[in-house]
Subunit: 218 residues, 2 copies
């Protein structure tokens, strides 16, 4: 079914977006959709939509289009959302708590099994039925539960130490909110960085460039 060539990161990064739009369509009761319609909805070209799906073999039918439900399921399966995984969250400050409370882990097959913080005032509190424990417990916990991935919501300076420990405990997958560059120290780690401040700076640029433009246009 799947094509043999390696899939490019550009395609992968579009998959969650497809998945999101298809889930919506599915909820709205839409049964079928053409590459043209989907492209219009997502502001892509129909060509790109077809090209993307073809990386995985193509799930459509000539003259008909794509079955929303099938396409959604295929992408869900490609993304591996159905495969059960367990995660620990390290850092239960403002950001960590928001991530824990806000993120829908279950639909991605992720079970949040542990939350850790070094701040004694937070230890003992419960988030999503998970008790916040001391980071001192990391070793004992990970050896016992063998989580697949770690969510890093600690400050940069703490991140280095935490990562060293997590890595030596066998964790190779990181969802990293800190500014510590995990991949630099652990080349075989798979790291997905979330740099919210980078995103905000990009917006700053666009504001600034826009103002420049308006000035010139005057």
């Amino acid at each position: 079914m799947a094509k043999s060539d390696r899939i490019s990161m550009s395609v992968i990064r579009r998959l969650p977006r497809y998945y999101r739009f298809l889930s919506e369509l599915s909820c709205e009761g839409v049964m079928r959709i053409s590459s043209k319609q989907l492209a219009a909805k997502m502001r892509l070209t129909a060509s790109q939509v077809r090209q993307d799906f073809n990386c995985f073999g193509g799930f459509g039918q000539q003259g008909y289009g794509y079955s929303v439900e099938q396409l959604k399921n295929e992408i869900e399966s490609i993304l591996g959302l159905k495969e059960p995984k367990t995660a620990v969250l390290v850092g239960a400050g403002n950001l960590g708590r928001a991530v824990a409370a806000h993120m829908a882990f279950e639909p991605k097959g992720i079970g949040l099994v542990g939350i850790f913080d070094r701040d004694k005032r937070l230890i003992g509190a419960t988030l999503r039925n998970v008790k916040i424990e001391s980071t001192d417990m990391l070793e004992e916990f990970c050896k016992r539960r063998r989580p697949n991935l770690a969510i890093l919501c600690v400050p940069k300076d703490a991140a280095q130490n935490i990562c060293k420990r997590l890595y030596s405990l066998g964790i190779r997958y990181y969802w990293n909110f800190s500014h510590y560059d995990i991949a630099a120290d652990y080349p075989d780690a798979v790291v997905e960085n979330v740099h919210m401040s980078d995103s905000l700076m990009t917006l700053c640029y666009r504001i600034s460039a826009d103002i420049e433009y308006k000035k010139r246009a005057e």
Copy 2:
């Protein structure tokens, strides 16, 4: 100084990262750096580093390299971080509060002047010296304070209504954490989306693809 051609989004999205690394170097007291060294640190090619900076005219000196401080300042200026801007945050749930508490707005020239939520239990509380107000006050507040950008941390269904009001109040720049597609309804709005769940799904794919790989290798 700046080259006339439009800068590509690929370059823009790398600028905050350059800025981050240069700020670090600056803190460490490093005075000069070559494209080669910076590339190694950031895992890019020296060629790309030089190409990127050349979009804006090139700030280096042959045989010497780049002055860390100057380069940092140039990028800061390109990103428009020095230009003062005001922002309102709409939605003070888990995510909104984390963004308000966690994000360093000041270094980006952004003043957080208002926070709004519809939940009466949150109204009156203070975050970063800003009182949370009822969303009913949005119109009055925006007419008076004329904020430049809005940070959207409300659920998708609420986002549509909030956006309609913010747009009609003249706000054109959005840092959007909701899954509502602002740009679809307001083509002239400048929107920077933060889709944390997309990022997590990308990690899921990489985990899943990795496992596949290991299975095959056995």
